[in-house]
């Protein structure tokens, strides 16, 4: 998947914009984090409506705590991924499946630090067919992307993302997905595509990673998870098989 960001796309505009931000005293570590409204909007304590404190079968799940996000960032991601894969009367959504915890945990490790990607300079803006050419690591893209979601929500609806109605959240995400938001920091669609791909990972990876709670992600699509053999059914018509996870190998 591509999480192309266009840091170098409009070099001139970027420089003048960076100058503006610098002059406003809102540059963090040399990296502009302002969206349309800059970073002047502080994080507010927002009341999310996602209850994910409960883990497996109502027991306390010690895995569900944060190693990367702030609590406010977590709530935005929890709300946004729930819109990407919403709960309905048939199947759980991203929030119930622990997707935001999954993303938090991934960003804290080698994936978030792009440890196995080629991150050597020089960095140039490339063509789409050449893939991601930015210097930012995924955890930085997320930090800024969340800030931009938040800024854009304030710009458009005068509220933080988690305070919006579901259809308003959808509108915000759609504008990101379709690059209708003009950002100078990260590519809006690049961030959205990254968010979408890690959402799918959180829904369907082995529960050991923090998402797919209770294997409910697998159950809703009749995916049997970790099975040692399908030899007995390979010649047969469709079978429903109770899933097992890697934990069953320990």
């Amino acid at each position: 998947m591509t999480e192309d960001n266009h840091l170098d796309k409009e070099e001139k505009e970027r420089l003048s914009r960076r100058k503006f931000i610098k002059n406003s005293g809102i540059a963090v570590g040399g990296l502009a984090v302002g969206g349309a409204l800059g970073s002047v909007i502080p994080w507010k304590k927002e009341t999310g409506n996602q209850g994910i404190e409960k883990g497996a079968k109502g027991e306390k799940n010690y895995n569900q705590a944060l190693m990367n996000f702030t609590q406010a960032e977590f709530k935005v991601i929890d709300a946004a991924t729930e819109r990407i894969f919403p709960k309905d009367d048939k199947a759980p959504g991203a929030s119930d499946l622990g997707v935001a915890f999954y993303i938090d945990h991934q960003l804290a490790g080698s994936y978030g630090f792009n440890a196995r990607d080629y991150m050597e300079a020089p960095f140039f803006h490339g063509e789409e067919v050449q893939g991601y050419q930015g210097r930012m690591k995924r955890r930085e893209i997320f930090k800024i992307g969340i800030r931009e979601l938040q800024n854009y929500s304030h710009e458009k609806f005068d509220k933080g993302f988690t305070e919006l109605e579901a259809d308003q959240q959808d509108e915000i995400l759609k504008d990101f997905a379709e690059d209708n938001v003009n950002l100078s920091t990260v590519s809006a669609s690049g961030f959205f595509n990254l968010l979408r791909s890690v959402t799918l990972e959180g829904l369907y990876s082995d529960p050991l990673y923090g998402g797919n709670v209770d294997m409910d992600g697998w159950k809703m699509r009749n995916y049997p998870g970790n099975q040692m053999s399908y030899k007995d059914i390979i010649e047969k018509d469709f079978q429903e098989i109770e899933p097992t996870s890697l934990q069953d190998h320990m």
Binding site: K90, S110, R116, G126, G131, Y132, S205, D206, N222, I234
Partner: protein, 571 residues
């Protein structure tokens, strides 16, 4: 100052399929062989926790670490090449067994047409059929000459298969019978037969039954657990170098395998290789390993990189078409496919094996008339059943939302109700498609990266459209209620997975002016240096490449044994 070790008979750079086969064959005949592998040691026991799509298929546990080395890419010579910073189009192997560990196991023989593609195309259609910048050439070997080596490779790996009704002559049948047939495969077979085609079960390196090979290596049968592609096999049922040829080499006591050893230069003097220089990646120490014979088996990109960084051979010049190192880079045209949605049928799509599926060769090679077509060659059409793991497989009808309520409903509904048919399109070489050294970007030791210049051409666009159309027709016959198929191939994009079927760069041939190695994969310009792998392909066929890589490796090993006795150029 590099530490200099005692001289050995043979040193091999890269211990995957090609390196493993050569190590086994040469040590069996008493030669002392050092195998240098920059990755780590691997065993079947490593795969106790292998059923993990995220770790292996998405994060690429078994792939080359791109932070240490990648390639750079540009579509044409006017563009600035930029590094492939993350995986996409192809998945490079690393560690003992190389990409031979994480392959699917689909094992084909290239066609007689492939090895004589230029002559046969001109014979049948005239010279004008070949575009001026398409640099196809005969391989300097025929199918009949290569046939015994195909047979050897198939018996070593225990390939499970049935006769291909349109296949070339075989000296023997497959050593094990075909894989089991799922209802999906039966549906494909019936539809293809009804259309007058000649379907057969994909020849598979995932064993259909327990098998002992001629080297005395016994392996268990495949369990159809669906974790082949991008994974190692916890049963040893999928043939890979670690469970087949490497133990044979080790057992001789003549094979000195050194992992964590990154070969950086081929050393040479007065036109002969004298050994290799490598770095111990755990200590950074530089070590010289002298040898009578040097063998490069380090995948397409590193074979080319090692030659160019060592000043061996004549670098390819795309302006004149002269020179050979880096010439004729080719790939695979695999996007010409179709997906069928079935309203009232459900399949066990989660189950499968890397090489499970049905295929047909009615539109491969020159098995059909190209007089009125704007392309040459073709590709097999197939329906594979590798096992649809859930992160990567969420089929939804084209044009429907990719997130939100409707995406959720569609993806949950269709997951076990879709089947895909695809073409394994052949890839022709062109004058301006090649590999050379990047002028800017370096690997972790400061050596220049390989730069790839490549894009799809009219030939590829036409071929992909053709295979997409044929795939659609088969799905129609299979009774799909809705079918999406590829409309336009678009430009080559390095971010979307296609196949790890990179070929060329050190191509074989009969003429030292137009090829780098002879038909024993011996360097024309350096007789004690052999360069083995898909780097020797003068173009890529409409098949997965490993079967042909294996055959060429056995052929090269035979050449090395001859050379060790008599010396001189072998062809």
């Amino acid at each position: 100052m590099a530490k200099k070790l005692p001289k050995v008979d043979v040193v091999i750079a890269g211990v995957g399929w090609a390196g493993g086969i050569i190590a086994a064959e040469l040590t069996k005949k008493g030669l002392n062989v050092v195998g240098l592998e920059r990755g780590e040691e691997r065993n079947t026991e490593d795969y106790f926790m292998v059923h993990d799509e995220l770790r292996y298929a998405i994060r690429g546990e078994l792939f080359q670490d791109l932070s240490k080395e990648t390639i750079t890419f540009r579509s044409n010579e006017k563009m600035r090449a930029l590094p492939m910073r993350q995986y996409g189009s192809f998945l490079l192997g690393s560690g003992l067994g190389g990409a031979g560990v994480h392959w699917n196991g689909q094992t084909f023989r290239f066609l007689p047409y492939d090895f004589e593609i230029r002559s046969q195309t001109i014979d049948r259609y005239g010279k004008d059929k070949i575009p001026a910048d398409m640099t196809i050439q005969d391989w300097g070997i025929t199918y009949d000459e290569l046939e015994p080596y195909f047979d050897t490779f198939e018996k070593m790996a225990g390939i499970s298969g049935e006769e291909n009704p349109l296949g070339p002559k075989r000296s023997d049948k497959y050593p094990t019978g075909p894989m089991l047939q799922s209802p999906q495969m039966k549906l494909f077979k019936k539809a293809a037969e009804k259309l007058g085609y000649h379907p057969y079960t994909i020849p598979s390196a995932n064993l259909s039954e327990a098998y002992e090979n001629p080297d005395g290596i016994s392996r268990a049968a495949c369990e159809y657990c669906s974790f082949c592609e991008r994974f190692g096999c916890e049963y040893g049922a999928k043939a890979d170098p670690v469970v087949t040829v490497i133990p044979v080499a080790k057992k001789t006591g003549k094979f000195d395998l050194r992992t964590h050893s990154w070969v950086r230069r081929v050393l040479h003097k007065d036109g002969k290789a004298t050994g290799v220089l490598y770095t111990d990646v755990t200590t950074g120490e530089e070590i010289e390993q002298p040898a009578d014979m040097v063998v490069l088996t380090s995948y397409v990109f590193n074979n080319v990189k090692l030659l160019l960084n060592s000043d061996i051979g004549r670098p390819y010049d795309s302006a004149t078409g002269k020179g050979s190192i880096g010439k004729n880079y080719a790939y695979q045209v695999e996007k010409g496919d179709a997906t069928g949605y079935f309203k009232n049928k459900k399949f066990n799509n989660f189950a499968g094996a890397g090489a499970l599926g049905m295929t047909l060769d009615d539109f491969n090679g020159d098995n059909f008339d190209h007089s009125d077509l704007n392309f040459i060659h073709g590709g097999y059409l197939a329906m594979g059943q590798t096992g649809a793991r859930p992160i990567q497989n969420n089929p939804i009808p084209a044009g429907s939302p990719t997130w939100g309520k409707e995406f959720k409903e569609n993806s949950l509904n269709y997951i076990n109700q879709t089947l895909s048919v695809y073409g394994m399109g052949a890839s022709m070489p062109y004058q301006h498609h090649y590999l050379d050294l990047d002028p800017i970007y370096k690997d972790t030791f400061g050596d220049p990266l390989i730069r790839m210049t490549y894009d799809f051409k009219e030939q590829d666009r036409e071929l992909a459209k053709f295979t997409a159309k044929k795939s659609r027709e088969i799905l129609e016959e299979m009774g799909a209620d809705h079918i999406d198929s590829m409309d336009e191939l678009g430009p080559y994009n390095i971010t979307t997975y296609q196949s790890t079927h990179n070929t060329g760069g050190v191509i074989m041939g009969a003429d030292p002016d137009t090829s780098a190695v002879n038909n024993y994969l011996q360097m024309w310009d350096m007789e004690n240096l052999f360069v083995v792998g898909a780097s020797a392909f003068a173009h890529n066929s409409g098949y997965n490449p490993t079967g042909t890589v294996g055959a060429l490796a056995y052929r090269a090993a035979e050449g090395m044994l001859k050379y060790s006795k008599d010396g001189g150029l072998l062809a």
